[in-house]
Symmetry: C2
């Protein structure tokens, strides 16, 4: 498997060994937006074909604007064959960490994500958890999260992802990573990232799928968080030319996908041909 | 001059050679706040005593929430003997750079700073200028500045200061540096900083005062931007224990003031005694 040529790739041993796929959601399955978003052409059918092929499949997302229940329902409404227990997402992973370490979070997250933290003690916070809070990234809320952090003897900042930006139907938006950097700088701390590209996050998705990294392919639109992160785990990774993809990604100084594909449908065409 | 003891310092040759003082404004002269702010005890009188002593004096501020005219008027209203042409501030310095390099800014600044850019062409922007926009740091405005930057072939980000936070009467607030970091990260660019701690900024303040760095003392509340920046220019620098000062500043890993003082009044007492 080399770079995608006109209508096909060269064959590669690793592509024939594939047993499982990890799919990013936003920018791969659909383009999100204030209106709820629209499926990317061919992606609904592509997910069905993966499931029919016998390949293992898991959705691996940094989505933190809604509970898994809520965004899975939205995807089902678009026609996607997807269920909550097929999704690896940062908030449940963060809840495990909070419980393990007796951390009580001050939350700077999207209103719709708050129910994921329903069972977590949030009184007298000893850490800040930041997600893609979107409209909740107000001047007042950022100052409040900052004051909670700077008031701690040893500030603990947990970030649900470290994305730079993403694309909605009405344009590019700053992602959680930008606000994480603002708080990191203001408090002179380093955030602990839960979600892609953290190695532990990919590893838990692989474990849930029961496939070793060398037999799995990640398909995503984010050159750093999807492609770079998966490759550092020993997986192969394809970048789709949908979602936040930009042509200059193909000259990224550090990360080179194992192949480019125009979209998920093309990736699935080619992968299924190699089986 | 060593560390401030009970009521006095050890004598030091450099303190006796002093010919000019650079004073930070917010946190040294007064504590700012939504109500306009309150003078720090003894500071009004301290400024008068400096002027009476024959020492040269210049105010060196990263204030970008208002035009110089406006905040100087506010300080005069508190009783301070200060005039616009005694103030070195980032916005006029940025305007010089914009003109020299034919840059047309998209402004992400406080409404009250906009008049400083009145004579600058802002059509079809080819750079972003960010200041302490305060309430203008909305989610929408940050996304807009980001989109302007990411749309450029080679993004140019000019930041009026790089402060982490400052103190107002109602609490600590994130400063421009935090938002600068957010945009730097999202666009993978490095901002050009105009204002403290940039060396050129201190040098222009010294030139305006007509005093070489080794005969000047900076007095500020910011360990990095006031103290560290001035020291890198060859000046001595005192940190006041007012404004944003925090006890842990005294363990800063990289920056050590030439002395601590409880406030501006104490600094002036001691400096005038050494003359």
């Amino acid at each position: 498997l080399g770079s995608a040529g006109r209508g096909g790739w060269e064959m590669a041993a690793w592509a024939r060994a594939v047993r499982g796929l990890l799919l990013d959601i936003s920018g791969v399955l659909y383009d999100s937006g204030g209106d709820g978003g629209v499926p990317i052409a061919g992606s609904v059918e592509a997910v069905r074909r993966i499931k029919a092929s016998g390949l293992k499949l898991r959705f691996c997302t940094n989505e933190t604007q809604a509970t898994r229940e809520k965004f899975v329902k939205k995807l089902q409404g678009m026609g996607f064959d997807i269920s909550v227990d097929e999704v690896t997402a940062p908030a449940p992973a963060a809840c495990r960490i909070l419980k393990e370490r007796s951390l009580r979070p001050h939350l700077l997250v999207h209103n719709d994500l708050v129910p994921e933290f329903a069972e977590i003690d949030k009184a007298n916070p000893n850490c800040v958890v930041i997600g893609d809070a979107a409209e909740n990234f107000t001047y007042a809320n950022l100052n409040e999260a900052f004051r909670v952090l700077i008031g701690m003897e040893k500030p603990v900042l947990i970030s649900l992802g470290r994305g730079r930006y993403y694309k909605e139907t009405d344009g590019l938006k700053l992602d959680v990573g930008a606000y994480m950097k603002a708080l990191e700088y203001a408090c002179d701390v380093q955030a602990e990232v839960v979600g892609k590209p953290a190695k532990m996050f990919f590893e838990s998705a692989l474990a849930e799928m029961g496939v070793p990294p060398e037999q799995a392919i990640m398909i995503g639109d984010d050159i750093v968080n999807d492609v770079g992160g998966a490759q550092r785990c020993g997986m192969r990774a394809l970048q789709v030319r949908t979602g936040k993809y930009r042509p200059c990604d193909e000259n990224h100084p550090h990360v080179k996908p194992d192949a480019y594909v125009n979209n998920l449908a093309e990736a699935v065409d080619i992968i299924l041909q190699q089986l």
